[in-house]
């Protein structure tokens, strides 16, 4: 549980540290003109950005718990390490490129360059779909090699972790599809900017998660 505790510790420390800074040296029983002028938002960010950031904390918790479960289960004597298919390296490269492409699209959207959005979104989406396809092929390879899910906990964890990561990406692709349709039906950069920016954050997050998961799978 150490990994979970460390990651949740960081999240809780950030939250609590921030709250404490808002609450120390405040005397709420005194009616202060300075307080009366405070507007409703605590953070200088769009509401949806705050929502997404909160969701990323939840997702971090999910993946951290899976990783903790993996490390705890690994210590049992029936664990037989799995040799990951080399295809995963190729898939990782695809996901890195998808992240880069999304970032490029985001820059275009911020810069108001509507004409770059179509190729940007198309390439990001395509690379992501290729990544998911690659993961699927990796599954097929393993199953063809006789590494079934129930044969060993290492196999089971491999399928489980890749599936959970893939499902998160699919959720991202749903938002991607919505902004892509809007761009194709003639939306301006400004109207899809936020959606693309948030997707970029999400893609980077899932890339980080994948690198952590892949690193863990490789090293054990």
């Amino acid at each position: 549980m150490y990994i979970t505790l460390i990651l949740l510790g960081i999240i809780m420390a950030t939250v609590i540290g921030w709250i404490l800074r808002q609450t120390l040296n405040v005397q709420p029983w005194v009616s202060e003109a300075a307080d009366d002028a405070v507007s409703g938002a605590s953070l200088d960010a769009d509401t949806k950005t705050v929502g997404l950031t909160t969701f990323l904390a939840v997702a971090t918790s999910i993946f951290a718990l899976f990783i903790s479960a993996y490390t705890l289960r690994m210590d049992e004597p029936d664990w037989r390490p799995l040799t990951e298919p080399n295809l995963l390296w190729f898939n990782t490269a695809l996901l890195v490129l998808a992240s880069i492409a999304y970032h490029w699209t985001r820059n275009a959207a911020i810069g108001g360059m509507t004409e770059k959005l179509k190729p940007g979104l198309a390439i990001s989406g395509l690379l992501t779909i290729m990544f998911l396809g690659g993961q699927w092929i990796a599954w097929q390879e393993l199953m063809a090699g006789g590494y079934y899910v129930s044969y060993n906990p290492a196999n089971a964890f491999f399928y489980l972790l890749t599936a959970v990561h893939g499902i998160h990406l699919l959720g991202g692709l749903w938002v991607w599809a919505r902004s892509t349709i809007r761009v194709w039906t003639g939306a301006e950069a400004d109207s899809v900017r936020l959606s693309i920016e948030l997707c970029t954050i999400y893609w980077h997050f899932l890339l980080l998660v994948w690198i952590a998961l892949f690193g863990m799978l490789l090293s054990t």
Binding site: M1, T4, L5, L8, I11, M12, V15, I16, I19, L20, Q22, T23, V26, Q27, P28, W29, V30, S31, E32, A33, D35, D36, A37, V38, S39, G40, A41, S42, L43, T47, K48, V50, G51, T54, F55, A57, V58, S61, I62, L65, F66, A69, L72, R73, E76, P77, D78, W79, V149, S150, N152, P153, A156, L160, V164
Partner: protein, 588 residues
């Protein structure tokens, strides 16, 4: 986004004004309607769980008096009673119900920041409830694994409902977590980003602080339940061995190898302990507001109360293994978790002191919500004190499998939050419905419930000391149990039936008052917080009419010297009612 609820973007509010009956009451995006939908659903399943506990008490007090109750469905009743009460009633009611109702109203927003997702949250919650209840009717029945669902027995032959029952239970939990996450993102973001002008964090009522911190805990802790549910579903359906050890059932190998049941316990309690505070923190917050309002006095140590909520939230993640002292874990772990458990008692005790000190020299009005709030201080203190016993490894070991534990967690996590639920419903009923309830019936409801629950759970501690084991369908002729223990069990059961029946007074009062109650004033208690300052009672869609409120002070300006009224609403500017350093609000 349908609209933003921040003062400066007022022009966008008309966007999702409901037009038809369906958008107004069924597919509603209005936080108040969603809150009531959550509340009614939660109370409905809560009544089912209450019925289940009556059946269990029937068997325990009068063994085999009802032929219908056999060991299998006794275990199904235990499981469903626990799960429903903890998750589908209390979590849903405090956060989905009161969270939804109070956050926008107390913070001066027009609605939650993501109203569509908020609506979805309720419907997904309802789906999870339907899946859960469906498990009673599938072949094999509901799961009887106990509310903790420990493997291997949860999915091994011999336990009721190991086929569809357990899968529906795990599936329902997963769906519930999705619903909670959608709601939780809303609550956190609304508290952070959609308060009205002047509502600084430290001017928020403590109810909101409790709900806010509980939501953060829920968002971070529920994933542990999700992860363990997914892994157990896989163990059951595709024969993985995450949790299932190698075992032989009915002469055949189950196909599992070397899984770790203790891993499940770690994951489950990593969720399970924060869950206690997910339920307790909103109750703490609401009680603070009820006490201050009905004692006409500012809450004692507001900042301490806020920091205590934060401290409890942080500490609640590092006490989980005190539920696992008997799992055979390393004794040093036990020592560590006993220490953290005792440490978390410090901020909790601090809150109890502050509640008592709030009452000290207050102008106490013993109205129904106040009775329930004071009742909570009693039951919570008692439940908390037995927690200090059980938090110590050496005392926990002999008591762990006895009724002492049952009595402890029912006092601290059953009776206490439920008293707050009642108090809160009585307190906000006039605002929610625009009508008053019958005060006399409310007082009868309180006294009978309060004394009744004590007569259930105080003797139960004694049964625990005698060593009467929990979870047993029938005690049989056990040597160490004197005959008086059986008599006591019967008496406890009679009290339990009595308390269950008394709840009909509550339902009757609510339903009749809804139609025939006296019309309520917009602020019958003379409360300072924003929800009592709405232009309409009950508040209309958008809550605030044309202009959003502005806040100029904290929520606890009661009995301010030199003021005509004994409360100053949060919207009153400093110039009209100066309060602060030089004016001495604390001078009585």
């Amino acid at each position: 986004m349908a609209y933003v609820s921040i003062a400066d973007r007022d022009h966008e509010i008309e966007h999702h004004d409901p037009q038809t009956f369906i958008t107004k009451y069924i597919w509603s995006q209005d936080h108040k309607v969603i809150a009531i939908q959550y509340g009614i659903t939660a109370i409905f399943v809560g009544l089912i769980a209450l019925g289940l506990s009556v059946m269990m008490r029937m068997q325990l007090g009068f063994p085999d008096a009802v032929a219908l109750i056999n060991p299998e469905n006794y275990y199904q009743f235990i499981t469903m009673h626990g799960m429903i009460m903890v998750i589908y009633l209390l979590t849903a009611l405090f956060l989905g119900g009161f969270g939804n109702y109070l956050i926008p109203l107390m913070l001066g927003s027009r609605d939650m920041v993501f109203p569509y997702m908020n609506m979805l949250s309720f419907w997904v919650y309802l789906l999870s409830v339907i899946i859960l209840l469906a498990s009673f009717f599938v072949p094999g029945g509901a799961t009887g694994a106990g509310w903790t669902l420990y493997p291997p027995q949860a999915i091994s032959p011999g336990t009721p409902g190991i086929d569809l029952g357990i899968l529906l239970m795990l599936g329902s939990l997963a769906v519930f977590i999705v619903a909670f996450t959608m709601g939780g993102l809303n609550y956190v973001t609304t508290v952070l980003q959609a308060r009205c002008r002047g509502m600084t964090l430290m001017r928020m009522p403590l109810s909101i602080w409790g709900i806010f911190m509980a939501t953060i805990l829920g968002l971070l802790a529920f994933p542990a339940l999700l992860v363990s549910a997914i892994m157990m579903i896989l163990d059951k359906t595709v024969a993985t061995s995450f949790f299932m050890p190698a075992a032989i059932a009915a002469g055949e190998s189950t196909g599992h190898t070397g899984g770790s049941p203790v891993l499940f316990q770690h994951l489950f309690w990593f969720f399970g302990h924060p869950e206690v505070y997910i339920v307790a923190l909103p109750a703490f917050g609401i009680v603070s507001d009820l006490l201050a309002t009905h004692a006409r006095k500012n809450i004692f140590g507001y900042r301490m109360m806020v920091w205590a909520i934060i401290a409890i939230g942080g500490l609640s993640f590092i006490v989980w293994a005190h539920h696992m002292y008997v799992s055979g874990m390393n004794p040093y772990f036990g020592f560590f978790f006993a220490t953290t458990t005792l440490i978390i008692a410090v901020p909790t005790a601090l809150k109890v002191y502050n509640w008592v000190l709030t009452l000290w020299q207050g102008n106490i009005h013993l109205r129904v919500p106040m009775l329930f709030a004071i009742g909570f201080v009693f039951t919570f203190t008692h439940g908390g004190l037995t927690g200090l016993f059980l938090g110590n490894v050496t005392i926990d070991l002999p008591l762990s499998d006895t009724y002492f534990v049952v009595a402890h967690f029912h006092m601290v996590m059953g009776v206490s939050p439920v008293l707050v639920v009642f108090g809160a419903i009585y307190h906000w009923f006039p605002k929610m419905t625009g009508r008053m309830y019958n005060e006399t019936l409310g007082k009868w409801h309180f006294w009978l419930t309060f004394l009744g629950t004590y007569s259930i759970y105080l003797p139960m501690h004694y049964l625990g000391f005698l060593g009467v084991p929990r979870r047993y369908f029938a005690m049989g002729n056990t040597e160490f149990m004197p005959e008086s223990a059986n008599t006591l069990n019967a008496a406890i059961s009679v009290s339990a039936f009595f308390v269950a029946v008394v709840q009909l007074i509550f339902l009757y009062n609510l339903i009749v008052s809804l139609r025939k109650g006296e019309k309520a004033d917009s602020n019958p208690w003379g409360a300072t917080t924003l929800e009592w300052q709405t232009p309409d009672t009950p508040p209309k869609h958008g809550n605030w009419g044309h202009d959003l409120p502005e806040v100029h002070r904290w929520a606890y300006d009661y009995s301010v010297p030199g003021q005509e009224l004994d409360f100053v609403a949060q919207t009153v500017p400093a110039s009209e009612a100066p309060v602060g350093r030089d004016h001495g609000v604390t001078h009585e």
